[in-house]
């Protein structure tokens, strides 16, 4: 789209974030086409600020934005807030790596055919019910400010997700299979791969037994380690929760020991994938932020406002789910960094424990919880029988200190049909991952 000319109001800071987004959503349930839709929307988010106090608006009317900004300026609440202008460097950049590979240029019928080809794997009697989904979204954004910023960027996410329930009665098992990429050309996934996942699910449904609740050694897969890092520590690294509580600066002092020496956690908006955010929604560049390095707190995630409040640098983590919302501090691609052990060495160190291969959901505050999907007993250093675990949980800081092994290869996973939720903004695409991570003691129930 063409960026409209803006007559900026005087006496206030102002910025406008334009957005043009297209999405495709296809859903097939139990073999029947349930929803096939393509959607396009254009809008803008307007902000004006005086004395650190903001008035903002989301609009689909892109005419005479200057007048809209002037009207908005009259609605700025009285008071004194945090003035972030010193942290809002007015960059001028264009980074649109997906402009010539837009998913919305591919006919809907082609996407439908590709999904249905994969779903031929669902024709097996053990499956009780299933749904298959294709999603793609392309989002073009332009951030312009009264200080002269003009940052144009785009992002894209393409994926397929299949949810299924196999088995009967108490031997029922529900799981999902997902593939994601940022272009259609790079999207993997085949009926054979889905079929292999279904084989595992059938075995799990038939053989998995409940576990006895109690503490145990646990190894997390890269995907599960990623959600652990995201939930247990990532959200606590978002600096907006520290605003208004000076004691937090002492409790979360950079340089404090927060985990075992093998633990390092990184957030990096520059990595391609569902967390790719080369420029954030305040026009600031992505950075690789080491939240934890060798068990020591080394950084946190910022918007311009939180960076100003805490006297730290911006990190490119001010993100908004769409033009309807203001940018707030969010993660991008967050992962546990690789260690030095091999995966085999990690498992060899477990005489009796559990391997959490996949999960249904995770959440966390001072305690965190992961609800596993596929989980296995580890006996004498080897993966043994499948087990049914409702949740694994722990106190965040105790658990971070109980990590005693990290493998040497990182895998990053995209979010395809879901994403990260914070306050009213859900789902925001993020990525998470890590290596295999061993924790000497977690509560298993």
């Amino acid at each position: 789209m063409q960026i409209p000319a803006i007559e900026w109001p005087e006496g206030v800071y102002a910025d406008v974030r334009f957005e043009e987004a297209t999405t495709t959503s296809i859903r097939i349930r139990d073999g029947v086409r349930d929803n096939v839709t393509a959607r396009a929307e254009v809008g803008a988010f307007l902000r004006v600020m005086r004395n650190g106090m903001w008035a903002t608006a989301a609009t689909t009317d892109l005419t005479d934005l200057g007048a809209q900004l002037r009207t908005l300026a009259q609605a700025i609440p009285e008071g004194q807030g945090i003035d972030p202008r010193g942290a809002l460097t007015p960059h001028r950049e264009t980074v649109t790596p997906f402009a010539d590979r837009r998913a919305d240029q591919v006919p809907l019928g082609d996407k439908l055919a590709r999904l249905e080809a994969v779903l031929t794997a669902m024709d097996r009697p053990s499956i009780q019910t299933w749904s298959g989904t294709w999603v793609d979204s392309y989002r073009w954004r332009a951030f312009c400010s009264s200080e002269g910023a003009e940052v144009i960027t785009d992002g894209q996410l393409v994926g397929m997700a299949v949810r299924y329930s196999v088995g009967e009665g108490e031997n029922r098992f529900s799981d999902s299979w997902t593939v994601g990429a940022d272009t259609i050309e790079e999207l993997g996934g085949s009926a054979e791969e889905l079929s292999a996942a279904l084989d595992v699910a059938e075995r799990f449904a038939a053989e998995a037994q409940p576990v006895e609740a109690g503490p145990a050694t646990v190894i997390l897969s890269p995907y599960t380690a990623g959600v652990f890092a995201h939930e247990s520590f990532g959200h606590k690294s978002e600096a907006d929760f520290m605003i208004g509580d000076p004691s937090m600066l002492e409790a979360w002092k950079l340089g404090s020991k927060v985990g075992s020496e093998v633990l390092s956690i990184v957030d990096d908006g520059g990595i391609r994938g569902s967390g790719f955010t080369p420029w954030d929604d305040e026009g600031q560049p992505a950075s690789q932020t080491w939240l934890v390095k060798d068990g020591v707190l080394t950084g946190r995630l910022h918007s311009a406002t939180t960076a100003t409040a805490l006297g730290e640098g911006v990190t490119g983590n001010a993100r908004a789910m769409s033009f309807r919302y203001e940018p707030i501090v969010r993660m991008t691609s967050t992962y546990i960094a690789a260690g030095e052990s091999t995966k085999e060495e990690l498992f060899a160190g477990v005489e009796d424990g559990y391997f959490i291969e996949s999960f249904r959901h995770g959440s966390g505050m001072s305690t965190f919880t992961i609800a596993p999907a596929l989980a296995w007993r580890i006996r004498d250093g080897r993966i043994a029988e499948p087990v049914r675990i409702s949740v694994i949980s722990g106190t965040v800081f105790e658990t971070l200190g109980l990590i005693d092994g990290v493998s040497n290869e990182v895998e990053l996973m995209p979010t395809v049909t879901g994403g990260c939720g914070k306050l009213e903004q859900y789902p925001l695409p993020v990525a998470f991952g890590g290596p295999y991570v061993r924790i000497s003691r977690m509560m298993v129930a």
Binding site: S25, T56, A57, T60, Q128, S247, T369, M443
Partner: protein, 407 residues
């Protein structure tokens, strides 16, 4: 239309004013005003759909919806015909200045009474209007104005992102209800930690809270008919006093009396679980496919075709909380990450719970705990009861009491 097609138009207009809070003060105000328009074309047992946000060319949308019929999405029952209804849930009207003023007054009180806590997040006024019309006599209109106070509360010095929530939801800005909630809970939060409980306890929830996830997913007609539901293929024996309702009483829960396919709900409450067994929800399309009643539960994103979704779950009760308590009852306030296995086994990590006095008032908070139980026991042999009185001022939920075990 002359070609045998039926055109249906769904329009959803939402205006919102949102006051943003940080550090117990107003820091921003946001205005949203959005119109989303969806055109559905029905023809020969199929449906095609197109949507637009904001200003749009209606003819172009109709052409897109007509073209979308090529994707072959079946819709055997066709559109709802000859039904008219207009229903409104009126409420306050706010602009930015009035909502900022009301919020500022609330925060002044909370800061004064609770200087050791930080209040953040937002207060939102929302005006919604939903219109669903078609060429064959459907004309449904619904509107609602609501003010939501959602305050994240964090004790200064706490390592948590948030410690508790104050939530008020109603037709008017009700600052008094938010203050009453703070007065009920924050002194108990300050009172320090109670000893870690152990064993089987009487547990009190505000509404169904974290127990409802599995109920929502497993009480659809499809999950029951395919055997995917935890309730499928088994004799469900619950407590004789227990009933789980999908509440669609428009006067009570301020919900829309029709679903997004245009089915007007005929009964104010649908019994999903009770002495007569299990009932799953369905929408117009699902009802036709599965041969079950259309319960008017077609919901979802406006720009997609609806699918069956369990609505407002409610357990009817009587009286107040006090008669349902024993000396060691626990009130669960904040629980995240609950899961329920296919065998019905719950694991429920609780971030914030309180001990209660004999009147049901919070006394002291507990350390984080994990509760376990089985769905069929929680609503069966372990069931205690539900209240008629509201759990807090300014919310719709009542108390629900059962037994669970501290793991």
């Amino acid at each position: 239309m002359g070609d045998g097609m039926v055109r249906e138009v769904l329009a959803f207009r939402q205006k919102k004013v949102t006051v943003g809070l940080a550090d117990s003060r107003v820091v921003s105000v946001r205005s949203n005003d959005e119109l989303e328009t969806v055109v559905r074309m029905y023809s020969d047992g199929l449906v095609g759909l197109a949507s637009a946000v904001g200003p749009h060319d209606r003819d172009a949308l109709e052409r897109q919806a007509r073209a979308a019929l090529v994707h072959g999405v079946p819709f055997a029952p066709g559109p709802v015909r000859d039904r008219q209804l207009t229903h409104a849930h009126p409420g306050d009207t706010h602009d930015a200045a009035s909502l900022v003023r009301a919020t500022t007054e609330l925060l002044d009180v909370l800061r004064g009474r609770y200087p050791d806590f930080v209040f953040s997040h937002q207060v939102t006024w929302s005006s919604d209007h939903l219109s669903l019309t078609n060429d064959v006599g459907l004309d449904l209109q619904w509107s609602r104005a609501t003010t939501y106070v959602v305050l994240l509360v964090k004790q200064k010095g706490s390592p948590n992102i948030l410690d508790t929530l104050l939530v008020v939801d109603g037709p008017s800005f009700d600052g008094d209800a938010a203050i009453a909630q703070a007065d009920a809970f924050l002194p108990a939060f300050r009172a320090g930690l109670a000893p870690m409980p152990a064993g089987r306890k009487r547990v009190v929830f505000e509404g169904l809270g974290p127990l409802q996830g599995r109920l929502q997913s497993d009480l659809t007609a499809r999950s029951l008919s395919t055997g995917a539901s935890v309730f499928a293929g088994r004799e469900v024996s619950l407590h004789p006093d227990f009933r789980l309702l999908d509440s669609r009483d428009a006067s009570r829960v301020r919900t829309c009396p029709f679903d997004l396919f245009g089915t007007v709900r005929q009964t104010p409450e649908l019994v999903l679980l009770g002495p007569d067994g299990v009932q799953g929800v369905a929408d117009r399309r699902e009802a036709e496919v599965l041969g079950v009643p259309d319960t008017g539960n077609g919901w979802g994103k406006v720009h997609e075709l609806p699918r069956p979704v369990v609505g407002e779950l409610r357990i009817p009760g009587t009286g107040g909380l006090s008669p349902l308590l024993d000396d060691e009852s626990i009130l669960v306030c904040l629980a995240m990450g609950a899961d329920c296995s296919d065998a019905g086994d719950y694991a429920l990590p609780v971030q914030l719970a309180y001990t209660l006095d004999a009147e049901g008032r919070p006394v002291q908070r507990l350390p984080p705990i994990t509760l376990t139980g089985n769905l069929f026991d929680v609503f069966g042999d372990d069931w205690v009861g539900a209240t008629e009185t509201k759990a807090r001022p300014g919310i719709q939920e009542s108390h629900v009491v059962t037994h669970m075990t501290v793991a």
